[in-house]
Chain length 789, copies 2
């Protein structure tokens, strides 16, 4: 691994799934992973081209159950390209000796490069180099250049390219019992000279897909077609030592694209108008170069290299091309089929980063949620509440898509799945609305769609709160927090927990922000909102009341994860670690033992501590103060310690949140957790899950860790607040950001020093607030600040 | 006609087409016109439900020509509802005596009401009242309430409702030779209790349409279905004197909708979840009420009534619901099939109005153009130019859709149609980008998509300009101006004119604004743009040069419409008026005489004078000054006079532009032209064209006439400029506007007085500039200004 290249050498099929996953290429519109065609048969099990937001629903009977699944659809494979010595066998590692093989993902250029040397006989070597790109300036295009060099011989080589519609969703082994045949009504055809096409539809959502491929070579190209595949053939004359090139250019359109008439026509036109590979590469490089500048991140060492990989992967799923699409933030990006491409709450870890580099992308992702506000209101009504309840999992139309049962592979038992009781997604959406508006200064959005979402989410929380006379507090009962180990009280007849601290505190925050917005709205707009929603002063008073009286449980001098958490048993962590080694899925272990994790003070991931991730210490103290509690440093540190020792880190987000929180608490262990967060996908720490798709939230979260976490950066009240807590291992670094119409503002952190540079423009100066002072930086100025020792 | 109601009484089938057109109901997402089902057979020729942006292309062989037409598709008809005394004949004016009939379009509530009294026999009257709405808060819903009252009898009434897929595009008689069968693969079905559905696809663009209808009555509802129709039947018991009600609720979805999975499922779900009529009406009224407030317009007298009608029609095509759709501004709105729903340059007359009330709608319409920027660049390349050439007519995908031949019905000859040489659409797009950004303060848009469009349009103009050594000027040759009479020089072998003044002056303006934007862009963004477009200092110098040296021709002390215009013959206007009466289509008259209008100083509509519509006198003087010409009041007045007497006003836009320009020139004739603009559609001044769809540009233009024209309102350099030129006939009026985040800013004009009220908010104060002074109005303040006598 070098600075800008992610490289694997040798040929190790065992790691292939992980490698393929990290070697996905995308541009926000679509992403492609998968083996290059000259690789061995067992590799090509994992192709995959996913287009943002293209979902389809299938029903399967599995073990007597009718299981409905909405999947992000695996589109036809555009990659196939194989070759053989004239009239010989197609070359693969199974049929020919591979003398050398290497694969490199060039992050700076968005290029995947593979080099393979096949030994064809004594002194006869065929060297093959392939460069693959999914175009970052022209989102509907992808291209594959293949260079052949005959070493030590002259000969003819047959090359065959294809578009292959015979794909299914089969990327996650444990889903393979489910029907994955999403593509139907396949047609193929040719457009001379040398272009073939394939069109099909998804089975139930009826999204039409059009793909066209052009093959360019220095020899006559013929086309061929079958029912679900079409392609080209060319016979190349290989002179010794001279490189011969074949370029494949592919266009993809779906019927969800705006500004087209027919997706197949559009694909054929586009591939016909596409320039040659070199020119395509040139504009692709420029686009990637610009992305890297917008998200400049100058972090030294291995951390910097990993962060670049993370950024690369975030930008494949969420790039400026996403800004015109109706798509959300799928948990695994466009990188694999795990979680079926569903949207959870991962945007909470992604948007705060994007806000400060690609605000138009954040805005589009918030509009995605706004378009589903009506559905969220219907979901709230279905559980007997007013306002909006955003679902735990969703796909195409904003409906709840969470499974209702899941299998414990350890016990073989199907268990009820209550994860839809995680009702805190709305708080994540509200948090992102607020952060986006503060970072971008987009008052228009705040006053229109933003206010509509905040208001309905606040209303849901207020309506979910019930007054407990005994406690003298409002309570939110029967929910789940972010920690997925706990879904019920031990032996309780019904699922759900009361007064999850994360839920209640974020609910109070949402209510307070909704009240803030309503106070500052221009009067005519406030009237509109009130009329449309029936909001009146009585309800606002109720919000104010609930926002100050929601119950936050405590035990043993720490914040309780939920009411009654203090009564749970202590787990024998050491004993279980000894017995099972990896106890990340403690829930499954205990269930298989006939026990339940619900009995124990044991968390899968950060829950209470998420509060320290979302809010700065000052803001969290204010929030607790509003709720009538004094949250001092000691209480918080005790709370951090309590949960740190009782968490199994069974989620990729856990290391991130703990690293962030510990860094702010200036604790020595911080770096260990940060490293775990950094290594989550590159080392596949969650045991084989990276191969099924990267963990986008955790990846983006690490970027935000250096951007907001370690700098204490907040965009609040029209100012940029900073309160650095550099780690000894990460104390000198810089990055740029976009802030309220300023482009390329640069921050540089050095031990004891902070530097802010604002590029020249006609914008207003930027107000910077540190804990001990306030400064104003004019456009064109650099401000150097000495930090308190 | 009363203040808020557009009413027709009696029963006059001859006027039905006009009436139906003005009685269209829509909400931005879709619009429906057409007879109510109890009317006579000849009325139901003109149903029509058009969904924004749903185009389809068909090919027909007409008279040996292969004619391709892309149409805005007429969707299935959701209106049918008929009734009859039990087992009698269906009641229509053909089968029963109509004692009374009246139809009223309630503008304030977006309701179409019809009342009919059928005489069924001696002393037996069936009174029927229908209320129709296309829902303004829930854009996918429409509803029809029918109230039956038996007067003087008791009896059973059979009612039958339907969704009817058997529609074609047949609303414009002269297109009926073309294939209008856009709907295919029709399916129908029922969902008990009482709901039916219909789904189909457009023939080539393959847009899927799902429609579902629910019927609610106080009696058992049965359903029925046929191949392309489905509906309900109910037998009502009518007690004497008591009103019995049947409510029909309809949901429409197409596959172009975001946030749905399948359009039919979505329609069925939506109609199932829709509340009862009264509740639907309530939220519909609230939504309309809010629209009227956002576009408050307090103009007295008949002008005020007509302006309200115009506003009503604008809001049916372009409402906040449009802000999330990929749709443009079709010349005839969603009101009829003329021009096939194509998009021309009418947005130039629409967006400046919307900017100050619904900036989110303007932004969406500009994004529609931005999505087609690549296509506009391809169109430019196709004519050998760099930059972006927006087409004269377009539909789904931004391609040029202008016809290449047209028929002169007078001569029966097919003539070449060169209207695609109107290359000035790009200037309209650029003007709207600029106006939108100035009005909204949306710097983000200006710096991103706005700059991209401005730059490419400017580049097209610069690359279209050729240096004429003899003139010492740059020239743009071979184009058409807005005036469609002139498409070539007399006897020239090629079409096109040189140096159309409107084209050259707006091109200079675009170049100057593009240079302005590039100067003020944040440096990192400017670098991005330069890299992506290859823009360098040399090109910018060329733009600067072209923007100062474009040729503006003059003759006889006036601006020439184009170079050589002064050499054309004078037309015998009186003679032709005597001979033909209506000479609005002078081009057809002369061609039929074997002559050509190209020979004469005769314009169909404003061309040079459009400059006075787009630019304030001060700005126009600056612009001419930049081009090296002194444009004093006298020169301008001479120019106005010259063209005023040589224009046939064969476009609805002509009266508007002349009224505007004459008002600013403080000329007595202004009111006459303003009135013509106001009466264009209500009196169908263009001879039967209103029945084929309203003239949206002219309608919006009249709103802008009172908003910007007579007040001299400009949003420029961060201030609101005012320079009122009240007409004696229109000197006291008020309106509200949204400006840079302020909502509900109110302007009131009285003779000698101007009042500006800024509602309370936390926004910055508004800077107001009058010719003789500058004032600053704080939020919460009213500023009263005495105008110079």
């Amino acid at each position: 691994m070098t600075g800008w290249t992610w490289e694997y050498d040798g040929y190790e099929p065992a790691d292939e799934r992980l490698r393929e996953s990290l070697c996905t290429l995308g541009n926000g519109y679509f992403a492609t992973r998968g083996a290059l065609p000259e690789c061995a048969a067992d590799e090509v099990h994992y192709p995959g081209t996913y287009a943002a937001g293209c979902y389809d629903r299938l029903t399967t009977d599995v073990a007597g159950r009718r299981v409905e699944n909405e999947d992000l659809v695996n589109l036809p494979n555009w990659l196939p390209l194989r070759f053989r010595p004239a009239d010989g066998q197609w070359l693969t590692p199974d049929t020919a000796r591979v003398a050398e093989h290497g694969q490199a993902l060039h992050l700076d250029s968005g290029l995947l490069e593979r080099r393979t040397r096949y030994t064809l006989g004594a002194d006869r070597v065929l060297s093959v180099r392939q460069q693959r790109l999914v175009h970052m300036a022209e989102p509907h295009l992808a291209a594959l250049r293949t260079e052949f060099t005959a070493e030590g011989f002259t000969g003819d080589l047959d090359v065959e390219a294809a578009l292959d519609g015979g794909v299914t969703n089969a990327g996650v082994p444990r889903y393979r019992d489910l029907d994955g045949r999403h593509l139907t009504r396949m047609h193929t055809g040719t457009v001379e000279p040398g272009t073939v096409w394939l069109r099909c539809r998804t089975r139930t959502s009826d999204i039409r897909i059009g793909m066209a491929a052009r093959l360019t070579a220095d020899a006559p190209v013929t086309t061929w077609r079958e029912a679900s595949r079409a392609g080209q053939r060319v016979r190349l004359r290989l002179p010794p030592g001279r490189t011969v090139t074949v370029d494949k250019t592919v266009a993809l359109h779906t019927s969800r694209d705006p500004a087209i008439s027919d997706p197949l026509d559009a694909a054929i036109d586009r591939v016909g108008a596409a320039p040659a590979f070199d020119e395509l590469l040139d504009s692709h490089l420029t686009a990637w170069d610009q992305l890297w500048r917008r998200a400049e991140l100058d972090v030294p060492g291995e951390a910097g290299r990993i962060l670049r990989l993370h950024l690369f992967h975030v930008l494949q799923t969420l790039s400026p091309h996403t800004a015109d699409l109706d798509v959300g933030v799928p948990a695994r990006g466009l990188h694999g089929e795990a979680y079926r491409g569903h949207v959870f709450w991962d945007e909470l870890f992604v948007l705060p980063y994007l806000d400060l580099h690609f605000p138009e992308v954040s805005r589009a992702l918030l509009r995605y949620r706004h378009r589903r506000l009506d559905q969220a209101r219907a979901t709230a009504r279905a559980v007997g509440r007013r306002g909006a309840l955003y679902p735990w999992q969703s796909g195409s139309d904003g409906r709840e898509e969470s499974q209702e049962v899941h299998l414990n592979p350890r016990s073989g038992r199907w268990l009820p799945d209550h994860s839809r009781l995680q009702r805190h997604v709305g708080s994540a959406v509200a948090y992102n609305v607020w952060q986006y508006c503060e970072a971008s200064g987009d008052t228009e959005f705040l006053h229109t769609r933003g206010a509509e979402m905040l208001l309905q989410i606040a209303r849901f929380w207020a309506d979910s709160a019930t007054w407990d006379e005994g406690l003298g507090r409002h309570r939110i009962r029967g929910v789940m927090g972010p920690d997925e180990y706990h879904d019920a009280y031990p032996d309780a007849p019904h699922p759900g927990l009361d007064d999850n601290a994360y839920t209640n505190v974020t609910a109070a925050w949402v209510l307070a922000r909704a009240l803030d917005v309503l106070r500052t709205l221009p009067e005519p707009r406030r009237r509109e909102l009130a009329e449309r929603t029936g909001l009146d002063d009585g309800e606002l008073e109720q919000w104010e009341d609930v926002s100050r009286t929601l119950h936050v449980p405590f035990h043993d001098g720490v914040i309780s994860q939920f009411e009654g958490y203090g009564d749970l048993a202590e787990l024998d962590w050491e004993g279980h670690r000894r017995q099972y080694g990896d106890i990340r899925r403690l829930d499954r272990i205990l269930e298989a033992e006939g026990d339940t994790v619900n009995r124990y003070k044991a968390s899968k991931q950060a829950d209470v501590l998420m509060l320290g991730y979302l809010f700065s210490p000052a803001e969290l103290q204010d929030l607790f103060g509003r709720l009538g509690h004094r949250l001092d440093d000691e209480l918080w540190l005790r709370t951090v310690d309590h949960y740190l020792h009782r968490t199994s880190h069974g989620s990729t987000l856990s290391g991130l949140v703990h690293g962030w929180v510990l860094a702010r608490a200036r604790r020595a262990e911080a770096w260990t957790y940060c490293q775990e967060a950094l290594r989550g996908d590159i080392a596949d720490l969650q045991g084989g899950t990276t191969g099924e798709g990267v963990h986008l939230g955790a990846m983006a979260g690490t970027l935000d860790l250096v951007q907001r976490g370690l700098t204490g950066l907040e965009t609040r009240d029209g100012a940029l607040w900073l309160d650095p807590v550099p780690l000894p291992e990460l104390s000198s670094y810089g990055f740029s950001l976009r802030y309220q119409g300023h482009w390329g503002v640069r921050l540089r952190l050095e031990p004891g020093r902070l530097e802010v540079t604002v590029p020249p423009s006609d914008r207003s100066p930027i107000d910077i607030r540190l804990p001990d002072r306030a400064v104003r930086v004019e456009p064109g100025e650099t401000c150097r600040l000495v930090l308190p020792g």
